[in-house]
């Protein structure tokens, strides 16, 4: 029933198969029987599918993964994500349980299997794409694993042969206190839990958060943490496979029917924050210059205002702070010359010589003025998105970068907000609740809406801005751009009126 050979859609090329490769070429027209609902994606698909299926299945899975990524980036926890994803999964990537035993089950599982491998091809090309793909696939697996019926799940896990050594009763008694302490006080009686002893490398996630007892390189993993071990194994296998695929990629461009599809797929795996091109920031008529930054800073999001204030207070910023702030300034349209003037002026306690030696190069690098070919070609780096600021490099002692909504204590956050003029009790209370629920972007957008209440009302009422232009802000530069435009309604010299159009 399935006519085209997987990933070699052009029949003219069939004869060109290298005989040496033939032994590795899987037997064609072979259909796999899918025993389990879950799949570790160890074996690549071998049966043929049509080009239309190839594309459609991949697009369906891509929808799912992109939405999963969007959830993570809106700080939804696993339960929230699973609830959010349920209708989408039912529609695009349904997987019924083995008990239903319908004919559709095998087709569903085949689609799941193939679409995973097609996207692997599309996303193996760069480290960044591999990382994102692996993260989203792992979440998908996790949702399905938890959703699975427990007997089916157990059968699947047994089939994995994870090589688990059971901790003996004597040993369990000997380390009862440590095991309980590592388990957050559980179980109350040590006999109530069984433990596996595994190399700590198998459960890096449990190690990182100190959730297991560790001795002599072995992690003592309680039975209830089985999921962690399975997930770690899943991610581990997938990451290795992606590496392998990335090295095998060049041989694919012979197939000119697949390349455009794969390219298209990878380009569509973007979240709103993934990129912020400086061309879309241009604000006609705005005075974006070193001497005007103090004035402009009233339109900066709190993270950048905090960096600006720290910089003015200490005449210094540590390196992640400089990086985050320089990129932001580049993003608002400050050119390299002005940016150098700005930093030179701000670091007013050091000599020209020190500045040139220690800092000048970094600023130029941010702008792609120096560095390797690729840096210069790409005009340096993109400004950080909220996701990046929220999830990477939390600030250490003495550092001012990061997101104040996330990285400040509630008292210090409230104090900072009051300093920048947010004194409304309701808003501060809302921010506190957002922070407690870890909805940091909500807090930031709440403050934005408060600070631009009148202007937003105006553009809404007169219809100059649509819903798309007012959706949740997920990038500091978007915050600035929107704030600047709102505060300068009607002042734009190029159009002379209030008809400000946003490009996006």
């Amino acid at each position: 029933m399935i006519r085209q050979e997987f990933s070699r859609a052009d029949p003219k090329r069939r004869t060109a198969l290298d005989p040496k490769k033939r032994q590795f070429a899987p037997a064609t027209f072979q259909n796999v029987e899918y025993k389990h609902r879950l799949n570790f994606y160890v074996t690549p698909p071998t049966a043929d599918i049509t080009l239309e299926q190839f594309e459609q299945w991949a697009i369906d899975r891509l929808r799912v993964l992109a939405e999963i990524e969007a959830c993570s980036f809106r700080n939804k926890n696993l339960t929230e994500t699973a609830a959010h994803m349920k209708p989408l999964l039912d529609k695009y990537l349904p997987l019924t349980s083995s008990t239903s035993n319908s004919a559709a089950t095998q087709i569903e599982r085949q689609k799941d299997h193939y679409s995973h491998f097609i996207l692997r091809l599309a996303f193996a090309s760069t480290e960044d794409l591999r990382r994102r793909f692996s993260r989203a696939e792992t979440t998908l697996f996790r949702i399905r694993f938890q959703d699975n019926d427990s007997r089916e799940r157990q059968k699947f896990v047994e089939g994995l042969n994870l090589d688990l050594e059971i901790v003996s009763d004597e040993e369990r008694r000997e380390y009862a206190e440590e095991l309980r302490a590592a388990g957050g006080g559980f179980p109350k009686r040590i006999e109530e839990e069984s433990y596996y002893k595994v190399d700590w490398e198998k459960v890096p996630e449990l190690i990182e958060h100190r959730r297991v007892f560790l001795k002599g390189g072995k992690a003592y993993v309680p039975g209830r943490e089985q999921l962690s071990m399975v997930i770690a194994e899943f991610t581990n296998k997938l990451d290795k496979a992606l590496e392998t695929t990335s090295r095998a990629l060049p041989r694919l461009d012979e197939d000119d029917r697949l390349s455009p599809i794969l390219t298209h797929l990878s380009q569509n795996f973007t979240t709103p924050d993934a990129n912020y091109s400086s061309s879309s920031t241009s604000l006609p008529g705005a005075d974006i210059s070193a001497r005007n930054i103090d004035t402009l800073s009233s339109s900066f999001p709190l993270c950048m205002q905090n960096l600006h204030r720290s910089l003015r207070r200490d005449a210094h910023l540590k390196h992640f702070g400089r990086l985050q702030y320089s990129l932001f300034l580049k993003g608002i349209g400050l050119n390299l010359e002005e940016c150098l003037v700005f930093w030179r002026g701000a670091f007013n306690k050091i000599t020209d010589d020190t500045f040139n030696k220690e800092y000048r190069y970094n600023v130029r690098h941010v702008y792609g003025d120096v560095g390797g070919d690729s840096n210069r070609r790409g005009n340096g780096y993109s400004p950080f998105s909220c996701q990046k600021i929220l999830t990477e490099h939390p600030p250490g002692p003495g550092e001012a970068h990061g997101c104040p909504y996330r990285h400040f204590s509630i008292d210090n956050l409230t104090a900072l907000l009051q300093q920048v003029g947010v004194k409304d009790h309701e808003v501060l209370k809302g921010v506190k609740e957002d922070k407690e629920k870890q909805k940091f972007h909500l807090a930031c957008n709440r403050v934005f809406e408060y600070a631009h209440k009148q202007e937003i009302k105006k553009v809404r009422d007169d219809g100059t801005w649509g819903a798309a232009q007012l959706e949740t802000i997920v990038h500091p530069n978007e915050y600035f751009k929107r704030s600047y435009l709102l505060k300068n309604l009607g002042k734009n010299p190029t159009d002379g009126g209030g008809d400000v159009k946003m490009e996006d």
């Binding site: 695929t245 990629l249 041989r251 012979e254 390219t263 690098h365």
Partner: protein
């Protein structure tokens, strides 16, 4: 503004970061640029039955927008001049403090040079004192040269501050020769790569050039303690604040050995105000970034930036690692913190302590007591907390919450503050042991974790002192060495440090050859 200084030389360093993040997309570039095109054969593994391309087309069409791919790893770009490498004008202070005053009057002493990295001083040091052979064995894990050494990256900082990355050497002799030729003020050690780092540009795909292995490293620096250290600040240190490093080494060392099972841990003084650890076990060297991150996370207890509020928030019951650390740190807290640092002496400072305590009524009582006796010692203040708590000042006092808060405070003031980025990444470079710190002139000597109490950073010899040691050395009256020539380093105060290193390296090499030999024997049994 004066002209930019040597910034162009750093280009190479940044090129690397780009290469790592660029992967395939860069493959085609080397061809258009007309560079040599040594091609690696297309790789065998594939998922499907597609053909190997023969037309030499390099990269795939699968690309992403420029902004996206450029975001990777750029944090590495910002050279961390906040770390140990600054040259503050105050650096002469600790040098003077360490030399006995009369010594500088002695005519035989070498003049303290304006800069410790002066060429002829460095020349003498590298030629006569640097332990090249042991450094080689340390990185090579075997007496005969292997790719463990040959594909290892070295990075030189030259006298004019130019920074040369991707240096590599087949043998220790060639490394020594190049160091003597270029006379770097210091050099760093990076990972072992898949291929020789010098050949990286001739590879068809930059993704074929990857870091494979490196020791797991830790970096502890006293600047991260500036908010709680009262005796010194910035680049300055004394034996009092050095205790922060001492307690850190104790806590980290035992966790790495007992919990993770590592055996070969080398602690090294960073030359000014900190220490580095190199975990050299084969298992540690081969870890990917995820595993490094896991260990870093396991060991990280003090979190949060300048405005983060309470910096320690550990779960209860305490994880065995935290509980053990607390035990180790208790005595240090009493003597090194409460007595020597006296962190809550003034009004402004004890407010910081009160912020961390949970009971408002108790806090009010403490504030009243302390404001009426200005300058009351921190030891007394710490005791006041329990005394007032017991007196029943606060009716609804939650004594468990108070105990936990006190434990958290203890940890905030004593638990190691690691520069975690150094530990998380396989391809991070770290200053080599035994190089000279250009600011202080002190040699980055190993620290014996069994003799932590004896280590005083201000006693660590400077390069000029060592050269004087050689000049002043007299052969023992009775020559017991039976004609065996005495190496220059044996005539100096460097001797115990090099001996410690030699023993460390020998143990490491023995372990590796045991494992290798065992595997070879097993392989032989197969046939």
């Amino acid at each position: 503004m004066s002209q930019a200084v040597s910034s162009n030389v750093v280009t190479d360093r940044d090129q690397n970061n780009m290469d790592n993040s660029q992967m395939d997309a860069d493959g085609g570039m080397s061809e258009t640029a007309g560079e040599p095109t040594t091609r690696t054969p297309a790789l065998d593994q594939t998922m499907s039955s597609t053909r190997v391309p023969v037309d030499g087309k390099t990269s795939t069409e699968v690309t992403i927008t420029p902004g996206m791919k450029l975001e990777v790893k750029l944090e590495d770009l910002f050279a961390d001049e906040e770390s140990d490498e600054e040259f503050p004008s105050s650096h002469n202070q600790d040098i003077m403090a360490s030399s006995p005053p009369e010594a500088s009057l002695s005519p035989v002493r070498v003049e303290v040079p304006s800069k410790f990295s002066d060429s002829d001083v460095m020349n003498q040091f590298y030629k006569r004192l640097f332990p090249w052979r042991y450094l080689f064995q340390w990185l090579n894990h075997s007496p005969t040269p292997t790719t463990d050494f040959g594909h290892r990256e070295f990075a030189f900082t030259l006298q004019n501050d130019a920074y040369l990355r991707y240096q590599s050497f087949p043998t220790s002799d060639l490394l020594r020769k190049d160091v003597l030729r270029l006379m770097p003020s210091r050099f760093e050690i990076g990972p072992v790569y898949t291929t020789n780092p010098r050949d990286r540009k001739t590879l068809r795909k930059s993704s074929a050039f990857k870091p494979l292995a490196k020791e797991l490293c830790f970096d502890i620096d006293l600047t991260d303690y500036d908010d709680i250290r009262t005796c010194c600040d910035k680049a300055n240190i004394c034996i009092k604040c050095w205790q922060f490093i001492t307690m850190s080494i104790k806590v980290i060392d035992v966790a790495l050995r007992d919990d993770f099972g590592f055996k070969h841990i080398l602690w090294v003084y960073s030359g000014r105000r900190g220490a580095h650890a190199w975990v050299c076990d084969k298992k540690a060297r081969q870890m990917d970034d995820q595993k490094r991150r896991a260990i870093a996370g396991y060991l990280e207890v003090v979190k949060g930036g300048a405005q983060g509020g309470k910096k320690v928030n550990v779960k209860r019951p305490l994880h065995p690692h935290v509980a053990r650390s607390l035990e180790i740190l208790k005595t240090h807290f009493q003597s090194d913190i409460l007595q020597d640092q006296d962190p809550w002496e003034t009004d402004a400072k004890y407010e910081r302590l009160l912020e961390l305590l949970p009971d408002r009524t108790l806090n009010d009582a403490l504030r009243k007591k302390w404001s009426s006796s200005p300058g009351r010692a921190s030891t007394a203040k710490w005791a006041d907390i329990d005394a007032l708590a017991k007196s029943g000042t606060s009716k609804n006092l939650d004594s468990k919450a108070l105990l936990e808060a006190k434990q958290d405070i203890l940890l905030e003031y004593t638990y190691p503050r690691l520069d975690i980025e150094v530990s998380k990444h396989l391809n991070h470079l770290l200053k080599s042991p035994f190089v000279v710190h250009p600011g202080t002139g002190r040699v980055c000597v190993p620290i014996n974790p069994k003799k932590l109490r004896e280590f005083d950073p201000l006693d660590v010899p400077t390069v000029t002192e060592l050269l004087t040691d050689i000049d002043e050395w007299l052969p023992p009256a009775e020559d017991k060495s039976e004609g065996k020539p005495v190496a220059d380093w044996e005539k100096t105060r460097l001797k115990p440090y090099i001996e410690h290193f030699r023993l460390f390296v020998a143990t490491l090499m023995k372990d590796e050859s045991d494992v290798k030999g065992k595997r070879e024997r097993e392989d032989a049994m197969e046939f």
